[in-house]
Structure formats: C-alpha cells, structure tokens
Amino acid sequence: SQTIHQWPATLVQPVGSPLSLECTVEGTSNPNLYWYRQAAGRGLQLLFYSVGIGQISSEVPQNLSASRPQDRQFILSSKKLLLSDSGFYLCAWSITGTGLAFFGQGTRLTVV
C-alpha cells in the first residue's frame, strides 16, 4: 500500500533563516506531488505541483520554491523565511490522471 511521509512535524525558525521540508511517497511510481499551505481559518492553498522529476509548477509567486530530485521525493525550500511564511504545510500525492489526493501529516511552521 502507498504511504506518504512528511517531516518535520513542527518547526520554529527565525526570520531570515532557510527552510527545507521533505516529503517522500512509498508504494507507487510517478505520482503527482503537491505542496499546500493552510493558514489559520483558511482553506488549503496550492503552492506547487509536480507531474514528474524536475517538473515543478508554481501556483502562487512567493518566497518559496520546490524541487523534485527523485520520482517520489518532493522538497519545499526557502532561502530566507518571512513572518508571513508561518502556517501548516501539507504534502500530497495523487495517481496521474486522477484528482484524488492523499495527504501527509503536515508540518506546522512558525517563523519568529
């Protein structure tokens, strides 16, 4: 069966520091991969999605970037965090051609 791992679960970082969140999927190949952010009181906002290695589409221009160095690995990064980057970050995967997405446990990021 397929599983998705996302870490760390919580993170407190100072403004201006770098960020790296990692997500890996097991039990499937060539999944679509996604990064969402959920701010307090708001729905999930799509940040990036990827349909294959090295293929990244950005939905919202911002202080973040994403990379997919391997088929089942998706990384969210920032060179310098802003206070507004605080939020709950969720990685998700879906089978190519379907919209049904399965989510990781999320990372609660607080920028101080």
Partner: protein
C-alpha cells in the same frame, strides 16, 4: 478564477443531530468534487463525486453532487462527538484540487 465556497463556516450541534454541509464551486475544466475530513493534521478522504444526482454513502455520511447548479452537500446523520472536525470540499480542475475554507463542525455531548 476558480472558486469553492463552503457554508456554514462553523457549526455547533448536539450529539444525535443531523447536519448538512454545503459546497458551491466554479472550477475551470471541472472533473470531480471531493470531500475530506480534517481532525488535527492530515485531511482524510471521504467522497469523490463525478456524476450528478448519484448519492454516495458511507455509514452515517452521504454526499451528492448537482453539476447543473454547481454545488454539493455532505450529510451526517446521528452525529457523534467523533464527527467533530473541519470538513473540506475541493473541486478538481484536472491537475490539482481547489479547496474551500472548510466547515468547522463541533458536536457536543
């Protein structure tokens, strides 16, 4: 611009009550409507609806889609405290999901 609107945003009910959660959508290249339940961390999948008028059911939960009027409802009968969660609705546009803000449901004993 794609838009998914859920109502109400929050709801408090007593155990045993029946609730109806609403979701309207305007999604380009719409393919399906999905419902998720989010308790503390990861949203978990409830239903995926692609055809109008066909009810999907899982225990006390059921959902239906109206593609003409562009909305969906999620019904929960005989609510229990374990149903307390945020319920998210999302429209699939072909490559990703567009989420509403969610309905926060609290079921009191």
């Amino acid at each position: 611009e794609d838009k998914v609107v859920q109502s109400p945003l929050s709801l408090v009910v007593h155990e045993g009550d029946t609730v109806t959660l609403n979701c309207s959508y305007e999604v380009t290249n719409f393919r399906s409507l999905l419902w998720y339940k989010q308790e503390k961390k990861a949203p978990t999948f409830l239903f995926m609806l692609t055809s109008s008028g066909i009810e999907k059911k899982s225990g006390r939960l059921s959902s239906i889609l109206d593609k003409k009027e562009l909305f969906s409802i999620l019904n929960i009968t005989a609510t229990q405290t374990g149903d307390s969660a945020i319920y998210l609705c999302a429209g699939e546009s072909g490559y990703a999901l567009n989420f509403g803000k969610g309905t926060s449901l609290l079921v009191t004993p």
